[in-house]
Amino acid sequence: MNRLDIIKMLGDVITEIDVARGSLLPDDPNRHRLDDLRVLLDDRQRKLSKATFDDGTQQFQDAAQKLKAVNDQIKGSIQQVNQIVTVLTNIGTFLDEVTSLIKTIGPFV
């Protein structure tokens, strides 16, 4: 996987989060938590968009595979706001993996 694959994957998760956000009323506490997670993922995507780095390193590839594994697990489930606790946990796990991946890249963050 390369930088663009990760940017696209983040985009897919963000758009799924938006479907969940748009399915809750604006003042719902769970909605606020989703808003916060979206802000963090948006920030990660923007940083990856601006950065130039070697995405062929073993470290990056390992982190990308871990992220992909999490993504495969949660794909399609984020919109299920009737299971909001699971949704929030899944997004949190995904965010942690994105943060780990970004740490492998270097000091640009």
């Binding site: 663009l4 940017i7 983040l10 985009g11 758009t15 938006d18 995507q45 923007r46 968009s49 130039t52």
Partner: protein, 341 residues
């Protein structure tokens, strides 16, 4: 080989030029339905050209024209994305602050933008030069005025030199990759252009297609990466906008009996329009057009490398250009519909 090329000139002037011109409208909205009929005409003429002993340059003529037209659409669409990249980031920040609501700060607006103004200008300039190069290929395939071509090739060479200078001054972290690729491929394209001044037009065309195609594809690839980023960030913003409009409606809805029906209707209309735009946007990936352009460019190379093209070689070549043109039409229409929104 030169004699073989020269012997085609009567075929070039007698048959294919009008078809090449007729192909242009098939790229325009509403004219796609003509493409099959035009394709059949083109194929028939190409077959006649081969059967009657005409060699390759004449066979390039209409497909290269189609390649040029489709390339223009794709390049223009890509320019829209790159031009709007910073607007996307600004708007995302501005509307996100407004929806919370939180203070808007000018320094934060500056920070969120992805490329520097110089970086965007250099990429747009590279796309302009790519456009000029493809146009030159088309003129080579159709030209009856070699001196004009040589002058244009020389002008383009000068523009590429200027572009190289412009790219060298880029210092942003986000410009590194583009800078590396452009630094490698622009001199090669410049050498190809030099051949136009030194060689017969037919040979120059063949050289341009075979030697220039690799670097041109590398340049397209570099721009494609930036365009992908631009598309993904725009997708992010459009997705956020969908939620903002839903929130707007729901806030009014939550007022219960005090909700104003006119406002609810207006907000519902806004949601409906946004959903239409979202649907259109998902079909407007600039990478589709650029990938198709690379494939078509590759097909040009393959065809140029075939010394005696068979009917099936020509059919494949025409199919490749048609496929590229169809993708260009789709992406071009969608981007046009979304431009500035």
């Amino acid at each position: 080989m030169n004699q073989e090329f020269s012997s085609t000139k009567t075929c070039v002037s007698s048959g294919l030029m009008p078809i090449a011109r007729n192909e242009v409208p098939s790229l325009m909205p509403g004219k796609v339905e003509k493409s099959y009929r035009l394709r059949l005409h083109l194929l028939t003429l190409l077959i006649l050209a081969v059967v009657s002993g005409c060699a390759k340059p004449s066979a390039y003529k209409a497909p290269v024209g189609k390649f040029r037209d489709a390339s223009m659409v794709v390049i223009q669409s890509t320019k829209v994305y790159l031009t709007e990249l910073n607007k996307v980031e600004r708007d995302q920040y501005i509307y996100s602050q407004a929806s919370k609501p939180e203070q808007i700060k000018l320094n934060e607006i500056e920070q969120v933008q992805v490329f520097s103004k110089e970086g965007i200008a250099a990429r747009l300039n590279a796309l302009d030069q790519l456009s000029s190069y493809v146009d030159l290929l088309n003129q080579l395939a159709n030209s009856t005025a070699p001196e004009t071509i040589k002058t244009k090739a020389s002008d383009l060479q000068t523009s590429l030199t200027n572009l190289s200078g412009q790219i060298k001054t880029l210092s942003g972290e986000d410009d590194k990759q583009f800078k590396n690729v452009a630094g490698t491929v622009l001199p090669i394209i410049g050498d190809v252009l030099q051949a136009f001044a030194d060689q017969a037009i037919e040979n120059a065309l063949k050289k341009a297609i075979t030697v220039g195609a690799g670097p041109v594809n590398q340049l397209i690839q570099a721009i494609e990466q930036d365009a992908t980023v631009a598309y993904e960030r725009k997708r992010n913003r459009f997705s956020a906008m969908r939620v903002m409009l839903i929130d707007q409606y729901n806030r009014e809805f939550e007022k219960g009996k005090n909700a104003e029906p006119e406002k609810l209707k207006a907000y519902a209309d806004a949601i409906s329009a946004e959903e239409d735009r979202w649907e259109a946007f998902l079909t407007a990936q600039p990478t589709d057009g650029l990938e198709a352009m690379k494939s078509a460019n590759q097909a040009l190379v393959q065809f140029a490398g075939t010394s005696k093209p068979s009917v099936s070689d020509i059919a494949r070549f025409v199919d490749a250009m048609d496929s590229f043109a169809a993708t260009a039409v789709r992406v071009g229409r969608a981007v046009q519909a979304l431009s500035g929104k």
